[in-house]
Symmetry: C2
Subunit: 243 residues, 2 copies
């Protein structure tokens, strides 16, 4: 499993992903699930991936190869003019990789599946987020649904739903994501540290901030320990049920 | 889907279940998922069920029939001497019902599956909780795992893990369950009001308290609205991330 979140704020975009991959509980590894391409001053595109690791690595390699071989006829995500077309490219690559593997005789065709969050900004258009499905189609974030989660989404959703605010600043957004990830990590062995964090400041057209957060990270420890206590106090502040 | 929780406390047992059943999103009904048998002064047994409704109703009817026809050779849950044997009876009934339906030619044998939480106290033995699987086998609660959830368990788990305390009194326990159910109801359409609540006071050997909580319930509304606010304040109380 995996847990990745992309948040769209008034101030820009915030991405966080875990790094645990597993085939069963006895085969656990660390892999980065966040990939970025930038052409500073012109565009930034960030991908978060969940699902079959061979599929997601293939998709990222394919997209990456195209950016490095501009002579090839197929367009690259550093060239297409809109984020919508970036999402389409990602969707097409994803669908192709899944179908290529499914054709080899494997019957459980869902086992090669993957889901992708892609976000970024190109030139003067607004920053945006898309969620791309294994079938290659995708949806765009909106005011009503300003964030996307993929992977093990359930444990960390209640706090996102309650505390997200599109006006929040990046410091608050990172805090929110840390709480959401910590709740998930505490509940599901298939989501694990370290975490990758990336922040995109609207209209900067370059990656604004990147950080790998491991178990030694002081802020993560502060949140992980402090949230339990804060939650208990919140719970105690509510009136008791009278039988 | 469904959401049911059974809590084991020092003071006794607390059970809560939702009442929504659905076949797709366009076929929604209200059914009670909590069943109890008592022989006041001697034993109380309570069942919470999740899964295929035809299966769970069948299991409850079978168990109930046996208590009313004591002439039958098979033992009833009002007669067996221990909670362990109650769990075995429930497991056997569950396995039989699932297998009988699966034999009719339906290939998706998992579609008749169901899971059951059974708890109670018999005479001088300790009150206890079991979780019974579709295969008929079961596990018993312990100090390390003092509560069981079935159905849509993920959204409501983080608060249970953080705020549960075996020393808590019944008022606190009901508050905890309300928060856990409210988080789930807000996130998943297949879990819905009204809720059924039952409390068993240790060594009383009778059902101590029963209540159906619907959307008009003042305490539920207080928790549902108050928890969002309390959670936001808890979130604000933590230090911000410094970029």
């Amino acid at each position: 499993m995996t847990y990745c979140v992309g948040l769209r704020l008034k101030k820009g975009l915030v991405f966080m992903s875990d790094t645990r991959t597993n085939a069963g509980v006895d085969n656990v590894s660390v892999f980065r699930k966040m990939a970025s391409w930038e052409n500073p001053g012109e565009r930034v595109v960030t991908l978060l991936t969940a699902g079959n690791l061979a599929t997601t690595q293939s998709v990222i390699s394919l997209l990456d190869e195209r950016t490095k071989a501009p002579a090839e006829r197929s367009p690259s995500i550093l060239e297409v003019p809109t984020m919508f077309q970036v999402a389409r490219l990602v969707g097409d690559s994803l669908k192709d990789v899944i179908q290529n593997n499914a054709d080899t005789g494997q019957t459980a065709d869902s086992s090669f599946n993957a889901t992708v969050i892609v976000g970024g900004q190109i030139a003067t258009s607004e920053p945006t987020l898309f969620m791309v499905y294994p079938e290659g189609n995708f949806i765009e974030s909106s005011c009503d649904t300003p964030f996307f989660q993929i992977g093990e989404t359930k444990y960390g959703k209640p706090i996102l739903v309650r505390a997200y605010d599109q006006e929040m600043d990046f410091g608050d957004a990172v805090k929110l994501l840390m709480v959401s990830f910590d709740s998930t990590i505490k509940a599901n062995l298939s989501v694990g540290l370290p975490l990758d964090l990336q922040i995109y400041d609207k209209d900067s057209l370059r990656i604004s901030y990147q950080k790998r957060i491991d178990s030694d990270n002081e802020y993560y420890q502060l949140i992980s320990n402090g949230w339990g206590q804060a939650l208990k106090e919140a719970f105690l502040s509510l009136p008791d049920y009278t039988l």
